[in-house]
Amino acid sequence: MSTSEIHPRAAWRAAGLALLLAGCAGAGPAPSAAPSAAAAGLAAELAPPQRGRPVPAEALARGDRHVFPDGRGLPAGRGSVAQGAALYQAQCAACHGVDGRGLTAEELVGGVGSLASAEPEKTVGSYWPHASTLFDFIRRSMPLHAPGSLKADEVYALSAWLLHANGILPADAVLDATTLAAVRMPNRAGFVAVDDPRRPPP
């Protein structure tokens, strides 16, 4: 920033001080209907400087990694339960256990039907409402020691094995953008959105 420019925050403070002083003088003559010079200066400073830079279309497409329940955001690629079984042992078992029943990280398999019991087990099979979340989360966050390292085919395969281990997909299943979006999770209706902004206010 060149020294000849006025720093907005400094100017804003000065304008605010002027306004404060004007307010203190309010006990004297009746306030004019026209805004004071100080107030006009303040309003001008509050107009945001519009410094956002347009994002090129190719950068927008590259940056988009959100995967939605209806399958929007899923990339090309495919992976099978069998491929996922091997990948799971290599990438996940050290923390989640060889059978997905949990170790230093949470359990991923089992617990269906346990949610209303005294000791609920919240797993992918028993609790997760959307299969899309598996793809989204594994791709962005897992494994913890090397996030972002798995290719789309590998993420499809791991998702397939986890859904198979939970009894949701058969052993010969193959997942891609279409088949993953079609998976209906057992606990799909298990959530009550308390403050969902799409709902009309009561």
Partner: protein, 424 residues
């Protein structure tokens, strides 16, 4: 401690709790008055302590706590297989006032603290907007800034309260995932309007962090526009790395997981993304097997920090009770304290300023008569919401909610003066 004067005319006591008006008018002297004025020594300077007899040390470029405060520290608890996955608790029982020193603000990370180059980092607003835009830190410093003095509380704070047996830990190691700072930055409304949003068609904003977890949260656009802040400063200095440097989302009164650190992207959307941390975590399983989702606001809550678990009352006499109260819905209106497990209550004094969606320090004086006692506090916020008893919270939410535990906290005092966590 001096002799309590609770038997003086006009001081009605309630199980040893001294009335608030006595504290407010300052009529209650709790320390002994000096017996006599100190004698002036025959030779001035003779009895001076050594630190008055030679020059002190020089200046420092960034002040550090003194040696006596070296044990006032955050208490980390991390996943042994992933050192950046876990929490570090704020030591609430070692602190006073309502502000948290920046270096003691609690931490909750899912995969460590990123080392971000502020010259490279950008905030992007994209998705269903008229003009997707990027801002660098230098751009953002040109915008009008606002401050919010408020708390951030992890939705999982106090979750040991759901346990069958009361956990035996200091209050900071059990309730210390709450901290209070002054957060300063750009009102998000300005940036959202610059990109051009349609609140009717796309009521959701998906926030994403630039950490190795790429944290996500689907949030209502209405909240971001109402009082959301893109914070660049914490307590007057650039945000600490572990709190989101160079920028984080601040959503006053909402659970910490929504206030995405290291913010890199806000995506406008018609639907929530249903991220792992808004479905399989940070949702509250109820007794019927269904789970509450998108429960962002922090409920009205309070707890005593002095005395609290692990401390000891040395002798009978008058003690200063002190604690924190807060609500995600607004200001604290009232805090009551009890010394008999909630059978009777007396109103505590509130330290100013009492700010909306901020912690408020409360105080009361209590005379311990050497008998067992159960100390509690109960907060009421400006909407009239009252902090529930543990029994009421369990009756409403079951035992497996895990998140958003905000029931009354009880400290039992035994005949020896030992203080420990109890359920009543």
């Amino acid at each position: 401690m001096g002799a309590p004067r609770s038997d003086a005319p006009g001081f009605r006591t309630l199980n040893g709790l001294l009335p608030r008006r006595a504290l407010l008018r300052g009529g209650l002297l709790l320390a002994s008055a000096p017996a006599a004025l100190a004698q002036v020594p025959a030779e001035a300077g003779q009895d001076l302590p050594p630190w008055m007899l030679s020059p002190g040390t020089g200046f420092s470029v960034y002040g550090q706590p003194g040696p006596q405060a070296q044990r006032v520290l955050r208490r980390p608890g991390a996943n042994r297989a992933a050192p950046g996955n876990g929490v570090a608790w704020t030591p609430l029982e070692q602190l006073e006032g309502f502000l948290t020193p920046s270096g003691l603000h609690f931490e909750r990370h899912h995969n460590g603290v990123p080392a971000i180059d502020p010259a490279v980092h950008t905030l992007r607003i994209d998705g269903a907007v008229r003009r997707p835009l990027d801002w660098r830190l230098a751009d953002l410093l040109r915008y009008p800034q606002r401050s919010h003095l408020g708390f951030i509380e992890c939705g999982g704070n106090s979750n040991a309260g759901w346990n069958e047996e009361p956990i035996q830990r200091p209050v900071g190691s059990f309730h210390g995932l709450i901290s209070t700072s002054e957060w300063t930055g750009v009102p998000l409304r300005l940036l959202l309007d610059e990109a051009g949003v349609d609140a009717q068609a796309t009521p959701w904003v998906i926030a994403e962090g630039a950490d190795a977890f790429a944290m996500q949260a689907s949030l209502p656009l209405a909240k971001l526009r109402a009082d959301g802040l893109l914070a660049l400063w914490q307590n007057g200095e650039p945000i600490r790395p572990e709190q989101g440097y160079p920028m984080r989302l601040i959503l006053p009164g909402w659970e910490g997981v929504t206030q995405v650190k290291w913010l890199r992207r806000l995506t406008l959307s018609a639907e929530p993304v249903m991220a792992r941390n808004e479905t399989s975590k940070y949702t509250e399983l109820q007794a019927d097997g269904r789970a509450r989702q998108f429960t962002w606001a922090i409920g009205v809550k309070s707890l005593l920090t002095t005395p609290s678990h692990g401390q000891r009352l040395d002798e009978r006499g008058t003690y200063q009770l002190s604690g924190l109260a807060w609500s995600g819905a607004g200001r604290i209106r009232k805090v009551e304290v009890s010394a008999d497990g909630g059978r009777s209550w007396a109103e505590a004094a509130l330290d100013g300023p009492v700010l909306p969606r901020c912690t408020t320090r409360f105080r009361a004086a209590w005379r311990w008569d050497g008998q067992p006692a159960v100390l509690q506090s109960r907060a009421t916020d400006e909407t009239g919401a009252v902090q529930p008893s543990r029994a009421a919270l369990l009756a409403a939410r079951g035992r497996n909610g895990y998140f958003h535990y905000h029931a009354i906290v009880s400290w039992g005092v035994d005949e020896e003066g030992a203080v420990r966590h109890v359920y009543v």
